[in-house]
């Protein structure tokens, strides 16, 4: 327990301090993006999620070294997350082609797939254990991590949304993992949670730094990894439902992975209200229903995520 407290504290403090340092440094190095939902279009640092990745690597390595006996599952989960985070860095720096990204994320999941080689089923309420056989490590694990990372990468673009979503989803899965005695998943989840919490301080409206693909891919992969490690696959699916809905809506448009090029971005009017782009998306649904500011939209989306998190917790604990 002392190892975990040390690891978690280091992760939180390093993520907070490093994000504070990186925000101006990344801008000075030319790694920045324009905050399009502000009237004055300020420039903000991109790739801020790298601070969470570094903090997690540091904190988790300390926990891994201090834990006795050493856990293969913990190490596999950590290595998978570091690899996915590295794909995010590569994407932020050189801009990977959309068609290659899923394969690279899927390849990153190999360590966890190997660690879960003996597992074959997922528990669903009312259905019970559904057997996937050898497809669990070969297909379910890479597919879950790739899909979740992609979901998180798509439901993004507003101050505090990605990190806030990550905190709610990871916090819920961590609590559930502790509740069910899944220590490895809970420990890794707790470190990711505090890492994103430290980052959120600088990402919340008005943001000083954006997570970039490093932060969004890591958050999505984190949800899947903690779910798979802790046998909380169903809970991970439920907390991912808002992002799944956003993804499905975006698939209905003419160019599913290039809507922004085809239709442009949502804009902000003179009153500070958001004007949605014409393609279907979850954020645009909120904007279409009633006028909303960026802060209001993020609060609505995070409230929706919280509803699904509570639902996931209730359905998992009741275990129908």
């Amino acid at each position: 327990m002392i190892a975990l407290i040390i690891g978690v504290s280091i992760t939180g403090v390093v993520a907070y301090l490093l994000t504070g340092f990186l925000a101006p440094w990344l801008v000075s190095k030319g790694i920045y993006g324009v905050d399009i939902h502000k009237p004055d279009k300020p420039v903000r640092a991109e790739m801020g999620g790298v601070s969470v990745l570094i903090a997690l690597s540091l904190g988790a390595t300390i926990v891994f070294l201090l834990l006795d006996p050493l856990s293969t599952l913990f190490l596999a989960g950590l290595v998978t997350l570091i690899l996915v985070g590295s794909v995010g860095i590569l994407d932020d720096v050189v801009g990977l082609r959309q068609r290659y990204k899923p394969f690279m994320v899927a390849a990153s999941s190999i360590p966890l797939a190997v660690a879960l080689l003996s597992r074959s089923s997922i528990y669903f309420p009312l259905l019970g254990s559904v057997s996937f056989g050898i497809l669990y490590p070969l297909l379910v694990v890479p597919l879950a991590i790739t899909t979740s990372a992609n979901f998180s990468n798509m439901l993004a673009g507003f101050n505090g949304l990605e990190a806030g979503n990550a905190c709610i989803a990871l916090g819920t899965l961590t609590l559930l993992a502790f509740y069910f005695g899944q220590f490895e998943g809970a420990a890794l989840g707790l470190m990711l949670f505090v890492g994103y919490l430290g980052f959120l301080k600088f990402n919340w409206f008005p943001a000083k730094v954006f997570p970039g693909d490093t932060g969004t891919l890591l958050a999505g992969a984190g949800i899947a990894v903690i779910g798979l490690m802790s046998r909380l696959e169903f809970a991970a699916i439920v907390v991912s439902m808002p992002a799944a809905m956003d993804f499905t809506l975006k698939m209905f448009s003419k160019r599913p992975f290039a809507q922004r090029i085809e239709y442009g971005n949502s804009q902000v009017d003179s009153k500070g209200h958001l004007v949605p782009a014409t393609y279907p998306a979850l954020a645009h649904a909120f904007m279409r229903i009633t006028p909303t500011t960026e802060k209001g939209l993020v609060k609505s989306l995070l409230s929706m995520e919280l509803v699904y998190a509570l639902l996931a917790a209730a359905l998992t604990i009741i275990k129908l």
């Binding site: 009312l126 259905l127 559904v130 057997s131 996937f132 056989g133 439902m241 808002p242 799944a244 809905m245 499905t248 809506l249 209905f252 279907p280 979850l282 649904a285 909120f286 279409r288 229903i289 009633t290 909303t292 209001g296 609505s300 409230s303 929706m304 509803v307």
Partner: protein
């Protein structure tokens, strides 16, 4: 207040797709355990896609009503 419509509609999408999955699960119990699970899973994904498309139509109609 209108903002709560989106989460409520999304819960409807989830409930509908879950209902379809459980119905298919009940009626495909004769299949082998693997195919029983797979068919139900695909039914859920298909139902989720259809319900999400309908969700967007409702959002658009509410948006038009607001403009009017």
């Amino acid at each position: 207040m209108r903002q709560t419509l989106v989460p409520l509609l999304s819960l409807g999408v989830m409930a509908f797709s879950a209902l379809v999955m459980y119905t298919v699960w009940i009626f495909t119990s004769a299949l082998s355990p693997f195919w029983h699970g797979m068919v139900s899973l695909f039914a859920w994904i298909a139902a989720f896609g259809i319900a999400t498309a309908y969700f967007w139509r409702v959002v658009e109609s509410l948006s038009e009503a607001k403009k009017a």
